[in-house]
Every structure is written in structure tokens, then in C-alpha cells.
């Protein structure tokens, strides 16, 4: 936690968060004077998801998303909390930068979607072509901007040139200068109704999308693919694909185990808010599912490191994933029933 000043001299406290978008959203709320934690935003904005997109590739690895699409969490959370917010994209980079400067001068802090590869302060292990990384710009400084990136420990300086490139990457990954900020918040939002809406939405996303690539069906699809992969691709390439999957589970700012721990933390807070034992049980169950995912990634890492070749196989990794899928299906079916009973 580090105290910083925004453009109009209002203090801004930098909190280290697990995931970029939820942490940015919670920081924007906090700046407006409403103390709300990162897991709470994640639950209200229905962040939890699963999608495997084999036809979209990044550096030859398919995309496996454990969260809703970039931008959705902020939009949903802000709508459900009834705040007045602005989301904008631009075609013209100089115009996008000009408007950013103007909004900063008016005393707002601004959330931006940027490309991770082009952010100048990132190190090699973070740098890959992903255009949904969210950061907050606090104020303009000489030759650049003061930036609070919640996935790292402290605010940093970013050159104006680097920020412009990261906001407007030419080509199919272009975030088009996606910029958002909160104008004003409702003083006493209906937190309980927002939580219920978030839970119901998550259940639909995980259970009711009629395609085999999304929700619990998607987990099963990927599990079967993992089991077959060494025969189809050869050991080396199968390892690389598996490493790609593990990176989606553990890295990419998930807060561990593909957002499952963060979601468990949401239920922990929601249980206190509603005073409901059922939600507390669900929180424990989600933590157990998270442990299961963690077990999967450890197994995968042992395969990659070639430790205990008989015990740690692709079939075991796939089996663990199927177990995750079964448990998650049961979890969300139970959540559907519990959410229906909750009173706003």
C-alpha cells in the first residue's frame, strides 16, 4: 500500500491486487469513496467463467480463459451498483491521448486497457501479446504518466510514447484506447441485490451456454484434449501446450487456481453480508475446487519437469480436470438454488 496523489491533489492509495481488471475497478470505486474489495467486484461483475478457444492463438498457444471477456467485469459491476460511468474507445491515437489528458486534468483517475507486450515497465516474463491488461493512470508527469498497475506492488512511471503504443497496438489486438472512469457513485447501493444478480449470471455462464467450449462443458472438452495430446502432438509440443494451459490457470493475474480462490473469497464476504451459512459452505467448496485446480497445475508441472514418469501422466492431469468439471457443475447447480432463496 502506497499513498499517491491524483491530478487534483486528492490522495490515492495503491493496493496490490491479484487480477488487473477487478483490482482497477475496486480502486476506481474506492477513489470515489466507496470501500469495496477486489473479490466483491469479481463476484458482482460475474468474473468467473471458463472458455477454451482453440482457434484463437497467441504465440501458437490456444487461449483458455478462466474469466469473462475483458471489459465485461467493470461494465457489469458498475451497472449493478448503479454508478454513473463512461466507457470510450477511439480510432485516432492522438485524440485518445488528448482526451485522456483532459479527463485527468478534471481530477478523475482513469482505467485503461493496454497491451501487456508494449508496456515499457514490464519484465520479460510478463510480456506477451495480450490486449486486455488494465491499469489506472493517476496524473500526467513530465514526459509521461504516473501509472498505478494493481498487479504489481507500487505505482510506476510510464512514458507517454510507450503508453500510446500500448493503448493503440496496430492490428487485430488493438484495444483502441479503451478508457473508462466513474463519474459519480450512488451513496447507498443495493449491494445484496447486486451480489444476487452476479451469482445468477455466473451460473448461467457456467452451465447454460449451449456450446462445448464454454462453462463446465469447456473444462471437459479441454480435459479430453489434454489426455489425447501426447499421442497427437508428441511429448515436447504437448508439454508446451500444457504449460500454456497452466499459465492461464496460475499466471495471467488469476490470484491462483484460475480465479477459484478469489471467487471463494467473494463467497466468504457474501456469507457475512447475507449472514447465510449456505454461502459459507459454498465458499469452502470453492476453495476445495481451487485446491483441485492447483493439484492439476502441480501435476502438469511435474510432467513438464519429468519427475516420476509413471505416476504423473497426461491421463492423470486430464482426470483431475474432469474432477474439477464435475465439482464445479455440482457447485453451480447448488448456487442456483441458494441464490434463488436469498432475499435482497
Amino acid at each position: 500500500m502506497t499513498a499517491e496523489l491524483a491530478a487534483n491533489g486528492k490522495p490515492f492509495v495503491h493496493h496490490h491486487g491479484a487480477h488487473c481488471e477487478t483490482a482497477v475497478t475496486s480502486a476506481l470505486f474506492r477513489y470515489q469513496g466507496m470501500d469495496i474489495s477486489e473479490p466483491m467486484i469479481f463476484g458482482i461483475g460475474s468474473g468467473i467463467f471458463f472458455g477454451h478457444l482453440p482457434f484463437l492463438k497467441m504465440t501458437n498457444l490456444p487461449i483458455t480463459a478462466f474469466r469473462a471477456k475483458p471489459g465485461a467485469v467493470f461494465r457489469k459491476a458498475a451497472k449493478r451498483m448503479g454508478v454513473d460511468f463512461v466507457v470510450k474507445t477511439y480510432r485516432d491515437p492522438p485524440k485518445g491521448m488528448d482526451e485522456l489528458r483532459q479527463v485527468l486534468k478534471s481530477g478523475q483517475i482513469v482505467g485503461l486497457a493496454t497491451n501487456l507486450y508494449w508496456l515499457p515497465y514490464m519484465s520479460e516474463r510478463h510480456r506477451w501479446n495480450f490486449s486486455g491488461h488494465n491499469i489506472i493512470v493517476l496524473r500526467e508527469i513530465e514526459g509521461g504518466f504516473r501509472v498505478s498497475d494493481p498487479t504489481i506492488g507500487a505505482p510506476v512511471d510510464c512514458t507517454a510514447d510507450g503508453l500510446e503504443q500500448a493503448r493503440f497496438v496496430p492490428g487485430p489486438l488493438n484495444p483502441r484506447g479503451h478508457m473508462y472512469y466513474i463519474k459519480s457513485i450512488r451513496p447507498n447501493p443495493d449491494l445484496r441485490q447486486a451480489c444476487i444478480n452476479g451469482m445468477k449470471d455466473s451460473c448461467n455462464a457456467m452451465l447454460r451456454i449451449p456450446l462445448p467450449l464454454f462453462g463446465v462443458r469447456g473444462i471437459r472438452f479441454l480435459a479430453r484434449k489434454v489426455v489425447k495430446s501426447p499421442d497427437k502432438l508428441g511429448f515436447q509440443e504437448a508439454c508446451r501446450q500444457l504449460a500454456g494451459t497452466v499459465r492461464w490457470v496460475e499466471e495471467t493475474g488469476t490470484g491462483g487456481a484460475g480465479f477459484r480462490y478469489m471467487y471463494a473469497a467473494f463467497f466468504h464476504e457474501a456469507a457475512e453480508l447475507f449472514g447465510s451459512n449456505e454461502l459459507a459452505d459454498l465458499s469452502k467448496e470453492m476453495t476445495a475446487i481451487g485446491d483441485n485446480w492447483r493439484e492439476f497445475s502441480v501435476t502438469a508441472a511435474r510432467i513438464i519437469k519429468q519427475r516420476d514418469k509413471e505416476g504423473e501422466t497426461f491421463a492423470k492431469a486430464g482426470g483431475l480436470m474432469l474432477k474439477c468439471a464435475d465439482r464445479e457443475e455440482a457447485f453451480f447447480r447448488k448456487l442456483q438454488k441458494v441464490a434463488r432463496k436469498l432475499k435482497a
Binding site: 491479484a18 504465440t59 520479460e124 492490428g171 487485430p172 490470484g255 491462483g256 480462490y261 471463494a264 492447483r294
Partner: protein, 127 residues
């Protein structure tokens, strides 16, 4: 120091939720072992691929464009959209003899898309 620890020792640690013994969820900064292993594998394979391409360029089997495309983690389709050039032309330009005959306006588009200077684009780092 092992390669995993080396790349993770960059001072930009992320945060992870952890369920502690008191039933609270707290943030901690230690990256899980599985993450370190898989990220290390991906980065080392990426570096190896880049090095291989660099050698092929020096041997005259690929064009420098191929090297810079890989360096920016793009594929021909993405580079084509970024530079505003048709994909099949980008693929042709990966051949050294075709690349050597490109006119400046096309090279200019590549330098803008890849953010390298014109001198850099014509060669690869040697050594």
C-alpha cells in the same frame, strides 16, 4: 540460480489469494511452483526459437522480417493486419530473396508496425 528463479526475480511480483488457517483469504506474493515451471518452459522455448531464426537469417534461409515478427510475438496474419499488407504477401516477404527486393514504402509499413528502425529491419543482431 535456476532459470525459473532468475526470470521470477524481477521485482514485479504478482499477488495470489490464499486461504489461511483462520479461515481468512489473504494476499501473498510467492508465485506457485507450477506457474514458475510453465512460464520458464514457455520463455525458454520462445528464446530458443528466436535464436534458431536468427541463425537461419544469418545463413540466408529466412529474411530479417521473420526475426522481428517472432520478436514481437506475432504471426503472419497478425503482422499483415498491423502493417496493412495482405497475408500472402507477408508470407512471401519472409523469404530473403523477396525481402531484399522490397521497395521503401513497404519497408516503411513494416517498421511502423514492428516499431524498429529501417536499419534494424534489414539486419539481425550478430553474435
Amino acid at each position: 540460480m535456476e532459470f525459473e528463479d532468475e526470470i521470477f526475480n524481477d521485482g514485479l511480483s504478482k499477488a495470489y489469494y490464499k486461504h489461511n488457517d483462520n479461515g481468512q483469504y489473504v494476499l501473498e506474493k510467492d508465485a506457485p511452483w507450477a506457474e514458475k515451471v510453465s512460464v520458464a518452459l514457455i520463455i525458454s522455448s520462445r528464446r530458443a526459437l528466436l535464436e534458431e531464426i536468427r541463425k537461419e537469417v544469418l545463413a540466408g534461409r529466412k529474411s530479417p522480417l521473420c526475426y522481428y515478427m517472432e520478436m514481437r510475438q506475432l504471426d503472419p496474419g497478425m503482422l499483415a493486419k498491423a502493417a496493412g499488407i495482405a497475408t500472402f504477401r507477408v508470407k512471401r516477404h519472409l523469404r530473403p530473396e523477396v525481402f531484399a527486393r522490397l521497395n521503401p514504402s513497404v519497408l516503411d509499413r513494416y517498421t511502423k508496425a514492428l516499431r524498429v528502425t529501417l536499419e534494424e529491419l534489414k539486419t539481425v543482431p550478430n553474435g
